[in-house]
Every structure is written in structure tokens, then in C-alpha cells.
Symmetry: C2
């Protein structure tokens, strides 16, 4: 490595680095030194490990060789790692000091060196080795005749110790293969906490032998057995991932009350909830039996989850059934409990005691926070950063999810720029350490095993970078460029976000040519935030999630291209971007020709306007861009077309709407036309 | 149902029936009466069951509603079946008499009636109900405005009681999700036996607590726990599918001997086999410890598999290590055992005794057959039908797999026309009953979880029809037409045969546009029989199966179209088929233009000739078809082109080769040219 370019983030700016290489690493490492040579991947590639191999390293090296061989087509002769003593001059030498513990602040650092004839990984723990192997796989490059690793030295370690993905398996049960492939994907972007949201109004997903009615009556038969939980925890452990279970109480508890109405705050018959939203069924915090059942559940479940932390949810309890219950009201008076917040605090403290008896540290959403809690309780912030900062100030550990709600289907740009250390946080350096990291949250009201991957990925990879990499790594365009490649690597790991789009489109088209539909998924995005299922009453848990909106994703790719071009064109008016805009608009016009060749069925009939509306307004925009003017005669038609494509339809929205608006406004201004696109009246 | 057309197979010919409807049922039912009306699928669709629901019916009805809703997009309000007493006038009324037993010759019949305002299913057992629900889902039809079931009466029952799929999980381990989705697919085409090939030279895939070295040393950590086996058996049971385990002995046993070399026939060190083929490691039939271990294994495993039958393999033991072992030779002399076949018979009888003690009936491949065996032993025929007929004649039950070897990647036509009752079988009607049915065999030397589905499906659906439907249902063209639709329904069930093609193509193209590659998969087929891995030494178990050949399948669709057109053209010379042939050839020429736009990597470089060769010979054929002659000057070039495209490359072969040959021969004959395409010498 003779000529090296030293790039240390913080010393040399990111934009400089981004010009100096075309690597698609994510999360971006802390420190990189580039070389000029390559290590070519040949069939005689071998790995040697410096220790008696353990399961984690066995797994990681075997999978590494398989993925390397699968991607490059190189028939690697040796499918498993050697011990150092068994082989001389291995291609890749792995050295680590000890087996990493799955606990907060474990050493996850590694050093990776690639030279022309040798690769080495050095790490304190086997967990560091796993991360180094993932980085190495991201480095695979090729020319026409070979695959190789570029010469490089990487020194890397995470910025935050808590980098999580929460998966809600209560609203929609997710089988083990879904969880396993997502754990693989998590490890590939160095996430280290799987937060498993196991119970909610819509389902109780864990076998509880001491209280079997819970899973028997609360799950529609869709729950994890003890052995399956052990399997998941072991699988995660092999990847260096901690598993934090969540049992959401005292609200979000309908499924508990189906089994045990006697511990409900209201005397009624409970059925598993089929809708989405905030519901009133709540555990009775004044009933000792409540704590007996909780004690049974926690005591039975705790050994299955070796992690220190146990999440009790605690969110969105509005206390309606508490207010309606005279016994509970009397209890409050008797105990001097002034309001429902204090009553929940009373509940939390009793639950915390049970957790403590089982060696667990309590964690919960924002709502559980109150100054009287033991100082080791972790506050999980979802509503805003205010509570998080307040808690951190008071010495409580916190984890951020506000801004990482991937179920809302917002742009990755938003999540990527959601910096945990907000401006004006007002915390000392020591207090900042209380912010442990963050978690992407995959609430599953509107996802099934078919679609969940496309809601998690690839956006969660960008969140992983936010939590791992230096704060200065924040160039959105560069992130988008790398994310596209990372997205394809996720497919290699079994993530179905790309392939299942086509599965859905084939379904809705009765297996006709789906080209026109694919094109539409690149400009339409699912309705965001909670608009798709406003009021929670459109979709039941068993409604079809096999429709056009389910094939669409955030960050519709052609729309992004169009939006970038529009920005470029309107700022510079260069002829080239105009030409490109027209070319895209033409494709949207042509796409409707393709669409209309499809044999129509009721589902296609429903989405046909998406294609037609787009074609019509695109045609208008082409003529405007070519003539560089809006004729007065066009005005009414254009506004109509704009208002049509603005309407959400079939649970999707047009993702270049604002660009269309900008183009129209630009030319109307230029032509001195008064077009008010915000006014939905079509009258001229 | 006023105007009905009575179609009873056997009375009315198949060709008549096939003209009279466009239903895509598979396997085709025994008896169909068509009506003229429809039952429209609306959100208020409900199911009622006449009994306290059992798990099998709960599962089947819940999944039915989900699939119906998912496919049609109809938001069905009720996601679960009612009991009869809970609802009046359900859309679908299900009546059955008893819970079916998972045993040979259980009643699997059903009657399904659809009228304008009511659907009913009647069956003796819940298994019959499951089949009726699958038939009903195959009936879903649509026009532009609605989805509906056509009015119909179906009376149905299987022709053979044993309709199986064997899956080899030893050569390549298959995780539970692969097995479960394939069980779903099996049920959808009314297959009822999952034959689970659990051990072989390349892996011992079952946890054996009494002899833990077996799974610890023999599986690379890839084995099924007892709980996972129970999970699979339960999952299969819920679908009406029996599970028959196979432990292949005394040959194919390397993985046993890795753990217990002391029961090997040769004193050596054993390692898990990484190649494919027939290997010599064999259990020692003269060693009592062999039977002790077998007794431990069988005794521990038998309760996990409630089925009566237990498959001991028994195939391909060539006895080399027996011949080399002096102790075994002495044993043979001492016991008057004349040859290795008799020695294996001695072994089988001792194993049979262990099975009998565990309440199991023995089953094994051809080689185990000898007249001295107990009469309940089942002979599984794989080498030819001769042994099967001989065994059946002698009163032994037999199952046919010869002709159903789907791993060989031959055309579905071959499997579909593989009638178990061969011509000149020489059996009485009573003896014919000994032929229980058949099994498709998925040997897994060359498949992984990514590709296994595309090797099993859709061809196995045609085998399922052979085993279920009337012998007279054998119109190959009609089968092809229906199979295309059934194939899409298999995707709905989670089968990955369609989606994973694109996953592989994206992988080999570095996620470029895969259109050109898709086109190539429609004309190239993986090398058949054992030619891809001749000698078993090209591929190891961990070699890449993520390459172009793995994206290709039997029955390449565009090649089939071209071949049919060629036949039509050469028999009739009609201008229209000529035009169509030229149009296809033109697309193959154009496809190479698309291919050459790809950024080349080593994998694409390797397959580039597939595209180029096809384009070049297509161009020549276009000019021949247009001019209707082969010019003498073209001859050498054409023959060269033919010989080029004839060569297997990248493990695939061109699937319209014979059509090309026929066209060239036709015109060379017509032009009085002497072209010998079989002679690979290019000299003119």
C-alpha cells in the first residue's frame, strides 16, 4: 500500500471523500485509508480463525463464503473456515480476543485491512468480526474479468451502543422466517437490538404455559412457542443481536383480556381486536390478580430472553375504563392517587418490582416516565424529543424512535436526517451519553409477511447509518446513491422487498404483463402517516394487503429522478434537463398505452385512473415545456388534470405532485396567468 | 341450474369437455356438471361449518378466506368461519361427517356445488373438505366488474391413495419455511404424502438425543429439532398430508459414519460428503452395534412421525466396502449368505424387526425387494416398472417414482404421460390395487432454498393430476394451458418459482436491467438428467447455485411456443405461422442488442455467447424463412452457427435446437443441399 490517501472523517470533509471513491458502504465506517491495489477473489480463497472457532464465528464465516461465492459465481473450494493452525497463508485471517457479550456497551469495534495478497480482521470480540465481515462483503467490486476487494484499511466502531429495529408481530403475526431474514439484514447494516413487540390489542403472540389461555384465546393460533423464541434468540445471538421483548401493558391489552376478563378495568366480554387504533381495554391496576398474572408471565418468559432489558410498553393508555370504574376511582382516593398518570405510575412500580425479581431492567415508551422511577429504567421516546431530553437530563437512559417510524412510509431523507443530538439539546457531554441510540419502529397494522420487508428496507439501512456513523456523515444524495446498492445486497440476504412487488402486481393483473404496473409503482407512493387507514376502520387485520398500494413504497424511484430534474431545470433552465423531463413525461404517456392493453379486472379497473391521469397531465406538461408557455385555453384543462392527479386513489398518492405544481406555477407566472392550484374550485 | 351439460369422464371424451369450458382445474375432477349462472364474491361472503370446528377446518377456512380476499381484493368482512348454529344463510356451507385419519385409503372424496346464491361442500371427512376448498379457489373467475364462482357440481375422489412428493433435505438442507410452503402447494393440488428424505452421505438432518453425535457431527449444524419435526408433521396434518420419514441405510450413510465410524464396513476416518454421486461408506450389517444404534434412532424418532410407514432407503449400495472387509466376508460364509444382495436382505430383515417393534411398516427403494419380505412392506420403484410389477404380482404394495424424477429437469410432458398402469402390465384388477400411486422425487444435489421451488413446481402439479384424475385425462396441450394458470396460483401460496428467477438474474447482472436475461431464460433450459454435474465433481454442496442455469427451468416457455409453431409451419407451411416464427426470431436478434448494453461482469461475460449465438443463427433463419431457400454460400456459416448453439454452455442448453434443425433440414432438402447437422465436422 504505497500511495495512500488518508481520509479521516472530521479532518477531511465528507464531500471530499465522496468524490474520492465509489464505495457503497453503509453504515459508513469511522475511519478509512484507501490504497490502490486489489485483492482478487479466486477459488482458492480461504479463511483462518485464530481461536477454537465458536458458533458465532462458524456461522458468520460459513455464510460469508456462501454469500461471496453466490454473488461472484466463484467456486470457492473450501466452504468453511480453518483454524489458524490448520493452514498457512490464508486469504483472510481473523483474530479476535474474546467472545462478545450481548449487553449494552459491549466492544463492537474492528479493524479490516485489505492488501494485494492478504486480508486481515482484528477485533476485541467476535461481534466485531461479524461487522468486519459485513463491511468486507460490501467492498466486493468487479471489472469485466474478476471480482475483487479494493485495498483499504478501515477502523470502525459505532457511535451509539443501541441500534435497533422494533417489529410489531401483534397486529400482524410474522412467522419465524420473516424474523430470521430481517435479523440477517439487521446484522448486515450493524444493527444490534431486535425489539420484539409481542402483545397488543390484536394478538398475544407468546406461549405461556402457566397461563395458557393467553395464547390459546388471544392469538388465533398464531403465537411463538418457547422453542421458537429460543430459536430466534439464538439466531440473533449468532449475529451479535440482542433481543428485547415487549409486552405492552396496561393499555393495548385487549388480547390479554380475551383470556382474563377478570383483570380488566371494565366488566365486559372481550374479543381480539380486528381494527387499528387506540382502544380502551386496560388492565386493572388495583386488582392483585393482575399482578399475579403478570408475575406468572414475566417469570415464565424472562429466562427465554437473556437480555437485561424488558419492555413494558405503557403507551397510549387514555384511562377511559379507569374513569368508568367505581372501584378504581375509590382506590385512587384511598391511595391519594391524583390522576391516571399517577395510577399508571403506581402500576409501573409494581411491575418494575416483578421485573427486578426476574433480573430485568424496565424499559417503556415515553408515557412511563416520571421522576420517581429507578434510575436504570430506559425511556423509549416516540412522541417527541422533549421527554427524551428531560429524562436524559435527569440521568435516565433513553432510546429515540421519534423520527424513525418507518411504518408511516415517509421518505428515507426524513429518517436519515433525524439526528438524535438535536440542536439546542441543552445537555452536557455526560448527559448526552444517556441517549443510547435509536430504533426504527415497524408497526404492523398495514403489513403482512409479504409486504413487511418493503416497509422496513432499504430505509432502515439509512437509520442504521445515522446510529452507527459519525454525525458528519449526512450527505443525503450520497446516501441515496449508496442505498440503492445496499438495497440490492439486502435482496441477496433473502429480503423480499424487491421481488414481492412483482408478486403483488402479478396477483392484481391476473398474471398478465406487469410492465405498465411496475412503472406506476415508481411514481405512486402509499398514503403516508395514518391517512391510508384513517380512523383505523378501513382495514381489518385480515383485509387484503395484496393490492396496488402494497406494491408501492416510500421514495418512488422515478419520481425522485423527476423531482431532482425539475429542481435542476427550474433553477438553471438548462436545455438538457428539460429534454430529460420531456423524455420521462413521454414514458408516462406511453405507459398508459401499455396499461390499456391489459385485460381489465375489478382491481385494475380501480387503478386505471392512476395511469390515465398521469398520461393526460404529462401530455399537457410536454406541450408546456416544449412551447415554454401555458395557453389560456389550456388553463382549465390543466388545473383539472392537476386536481385529478392530486387526489389520493387506491390508497396511493402521486409522488411528483409538487414538481408538477412547480412547473405549472413557473410557466403561469412567466405567462402572467393567475393559476391557484391550491384552490380546488375548477372555475376559471 | 336449469340448463346443465352433463360431463362424465369416460362417457364424454376429454376433447369434448375441454372445448366446453375454460376452467383451469388441476387435478381435473372425476365428474363435473356445468351450469350457466355465477356466484358473485362480495364482502358479505361467509362460511358456516356443520360441526364444532376442528383445527384442520379452522385452518383451511381461515386461509381460504384470506386467499380469496387477497386474490380478488374483496374486503371480506368476516375473516373466520362460523358454526352452522351461529349464522343463517351462509354463502358457503360446509358439511362433513368425521375427522379424517392420516392413513392409507382414507376417504378423501368431496362434493362441491355452486349455484347462483349458495355454495355447499359435502364430504365424509375434513380432508375431503380441504380438497373441495382448493377446487373452489381454482374456480375463481372474473369479468371487468366482479369476481365469481361459476355454477357447477363437482363429484370428486382420487384415483390413487398415495400421491407424494419426496424432498431430499440431506444434500441441501431446507429450512422449515421451504417445507411449509411446499406443503401448502402440495395440498393445493391434492397431494397427500410428504416423503422426507432426512439422511444421506451429505447430511444427517435430525436431532437424535440418544445418539447426539449423529446430528452434532453429521449435519454442519443444519438439522431439525424434535420440535421442528413436530411442527412440520402438525402443519402437514392440518393440510391432510401424511409425513413419511426416510433414513437411508445401509448405503448413502456417510453422515452416520462421521459420528459412528465403529459401525462402518471399512475402518477409516469419515467426513461429511461434499460431492454428489454414489459413495462406498456403508453400515456394517454384521455388527450388532449397528442395530443398537438403529434401534436407538428408530425408537426415538418413531413417535415423532405418527404415520404407519417408515422408509429405509436401501438404494445404491454397491457393497464395495463389504467386499473389502474380511470380517464381513467371513460372516457371509458362516451364515450361508451368497452375495451382497442377500446380505442386504439379512440387514433389512433385522431392521424390519426394529420397525415392527415400533409399530412401523417398512418401505424402501427397489433394491430392498425380495420375496422373503413380510407382505406389508412397500416397494418404492425408481429404476423401472419391472420390479414394481413383479412386486405387485406377488402381493406387495408399490409406489412409483420412475418417471417422476423432477430433479432431472425434463419436460412436464414426460412426467404427465407417465401412466402407472403401463401397457401390458399383466396384472389382474386385484393386483393392480397393489400399485398405490406415485411420488415426485426432488433430489437436492443441485438445489438450494432459492431454487428448489422452481424445480418442484409447476411440474409436480401435472404429476398430481396423473395420480388423482381419471386415466383418460391426458391431453398434453390442455394440461399445458391449465398448468400456466396453476403456476400463478402457486405463487399466491408463497411458492417462489417465479419471483426467484428474477432474484438470481438481478444477482448475476449486478442489479442492472434484467429484461434481456429474462428473455434468455425462456429459451435455455438447465442441462438435463445428470449432465450438469457429470461425475458429481463439478459442484460441491456449497458451490454457487445462484447462476444463470439456476434461473432457468424445464419447459422454457418461448421455446415451447417456437417449437409448436415450427411443427405447425412445417406440416402446413401456412404463412401465418411463418410470420410468427420470424417475429420470434427477430425478438431473439433484438435481445442481443439489449444484452450488449449491459455492463459486463465475469458472470455475464460467461453467458454472453448464449445471447450472441442465438441472435446470429436467428438472423440466418430469418433470411432462410423469408427467401425460402438456403444459399450455398450460407451453408458453412449456418452449420457453424448450429453447432455453436448446440453446445451446452454455462450449464444450459438451447430448447429449440430441434426446431432449428428441422427448419434447416427442411430447406436443405428443398434446395437439394446435403447438410449433415449431426456431423460436427464443419468442413463443407
Amino acid at each position: 500500500m504505497k500511495k495512500i490517501i488518508l481520509i479521516v472523517i472530521g479532518l477531511v470533509s465528507f464531500s471530499c471523500f465522496s468524490q474520492s471513491n465509489n464505495l457503497n458502504l453503509m453504515p459508513w465506517p469511522q475511519e478509512i485509508v484507501f490504497g490502490n491495489s486489489n485483492y482478487t477473489i479466486e477459488p482458492n480463497f480461504t479463511i483462518a480463525v485464530n481461536q477454537e472457532t465458536n458458533k458465532r464465528i462458524d456461522n458468520a464465516t460459513t455464510k460469508f463464503l456462501k454469500r461471496l461465492s453466490g454473488r461472484t459465481g466463484v467456486f470457492i473450494e473450501q466452504g468453511f473456515a480453518y483454524k489458524n493452525s490448520e493452514i498457512e497463508n490464508p486469504s483472510l485471517e481473523i483474530n479476535f480476543k474474546r467472545i462478545g457479550k450481548l449487553k449494552l456497551n459491549e466492544d463492537e469495534s474492528y479493524q479490516l485491512k485489505v492488501s494485494k495478497d492478504k486480508i486481515s480482521i482484528n477485533a476485541s470480540t467476535d461481534i466485531g468480526v461479524i461487522y468486519a465481515l459485513e463491511t468486507l462483503l460490501q467492498l466486493v467490486t468487479n471489472n469485466e474479468s474478476a471480482y475483487f476487494f479494493p485495498e483499504i484499511i478501515i477502523n470502525d466502531a459505532p457511535r451509539f451502543p443501541w441500534r435497533g429495529l422494533m417489529m410489531d408481530v401483534a397486529r400482524h403475526y410474522q412467522p419465524l422466517d420473516v424474523i430470521k431474514r430481517n435479523l440477517d439484514a439487521m446484522a448486515s447494516v450493524k444493527l444490534n437490538v431486535f425489539h420484539w413487540h409481542l402483545t397488543d390489542d390484536q394478538g398475544f403472540r407468546v406461549e405461556i404455559n402457566s397461563r395458557p389461555k393467553l395464547h390459546q384465546l388471544g392469538s388465533d393460533g398464531q403465537y411463538y412457542t418457547h422453542d421458537q423464541i429460543k430459536e430466534v434468540v439464538q439466531y440473533a445471538s449468532d449475529l451479535g443481536i440482542r433481543v428485547v421483548p415487549e409486552f405492552d401493558i396496561p393499555g393495548h391489552a385487549t388480547s390479554w383480556l380475551v383470556a382474563y376478563p377478570e383483570i380488566a378495568s371494565k366488566d365486559t366480554i372481550y374479543e381480539i381486536e380486528r381494527y387499528s387504533g387506540i382502544f380502551n381495554p386496560t388492565l386493572d391496576p388495583t386488582n392483585d390478580e393482575t399482578y399475579e398474572i403478570l408475575n406468572d408471565v414475566i417469570t415464565e418468559i424472562s429466562p427465554l430472553f437473556p437480555d437485561n432489558y424488558f419492555h413494558i410498553g405503557g403507551d397510549e393508555n387514555e384511562g377511559k375504563h379507569w374513569d368508568e370504574n367505581k372501584k378504581i376511582q375509590a382506590f385512587k382516593i384511598q391511595h391519594g392517587i391524583k390522576n391516571n398518570h399517577e395510577l399508571q405510575a403506581y402500576f409501573n412500580i409494581r411491575v418494575q418490582k416483578i421485573l427486578e425479581d426476574n433480573g430485568k431492567t424496565m424499559m417503556g415508551w415515553d408515557e412511563i416516565f416520571q421522576p420517581g422511577l429507578p434510575k436504570d429504567v430506559v425511556i423509549h421516546s416516540w412522541r417527541g424529543t422533549e421527554a427524551m431530553l428531560k429524562a436524559a437530563k435527569l440521568g435516565y437512559k433513553t432510546v429515540l424512535s421519534k423520527g424513525y417510524y418507518i411504518d408511516l412510509l415517509e421518505s428515507v431523507r426524513l429518517h436519515y436526517t433525524n439526528e438524535p443530538f438535536t440542536d439546542n439539546h441543552g445537555l452536557t457531554d455526560e448527559e448526552l451519553k444517556n441517549i443510547l441510540g435509536g430504533e426504527a419502529t415497524m408497526w404492523s397494522e398495514l403489513v403482512t409477511p409479504i409486504t413487511i420487508d418493503s416497509r422496513i428496507w432499504p430505509r432502515t439501512a439509512a437509520i442504521a447509518e445515522r446510529l452507527w456513523s459519525n454525525k458528519a456523515i449526512n450527505d443525503v444524495d450520497n446516501m441515496f446513491k449508496r442505498l440503492e446498492v445496499i438495497s440490492s445486497r439486502l435482496e441477496e440476504l433473502g429480503i423480499t422487498h424487491i421481488r414481492n412487488r412483482d408478486v403483488i402486481l402479478r396477483n392484481i393483473s391476473n398474471h398478465q404483463n406487469i410492465e405498465a404496473l411496475i412503472k406506476l409503482t415508481k411514481v405512486y407512493e402509499p398514503l403516508k402517516i395514518y391517512t391510508r387507514n384513517k380512523g383505523g376502520k378501513k382495514y381489518k387485520t385480515y383485509s387484503p394487503f395484496t393490492l396496488f398500494a402494497d406494491a408501492c413504497t416510500a421514495d418512488a424511484s422515478d419520481a425522485i429522478i423527476f423531482n431532482n430534474l425539475t429542481k435542476k431545470y427550474l433553477s438553471g433552465k438548462d436545455a438538457n434537463s428539460k429534454k430529460e423531463l420531456i423524455s420521462i413525461l413521454n414514458k408516462w404517456v406511453e405507459n398508459d398505452v401499455l396499461f390499456t392493453q391489459l385485460k381489465i379486472n375489478p382491481i385494475l379497473k380501480n387503478i386505471a385512473p392512476l395511469s390515465k391521469n398521469l398520461a393526460e397531465i404529462s401530455q399537457s406538461l410536454i406541450s408546456i415545456l416544449i412551447s415554454e408557455k401555458i395557453k389560456t385555453s389550456q388553463y382549465k384543462i390543466l388545473k383539472n388534470q392537476y386536481l385529478e392527479i392530486k387526489k389520493p386513489l387506491a390508497d396511493v398518492e402521486f409522488a411528483s405532485l409538487n414538481s408538477f405544481k412547480l412547473i405549472i406555477e413557473y410557466y403561469s407566472q412567466k405567462n402572467n396567468l393567475q393559476i391557484d392550484l391550491n384552490n380546488s374550485s375548477i372555475q376559471q
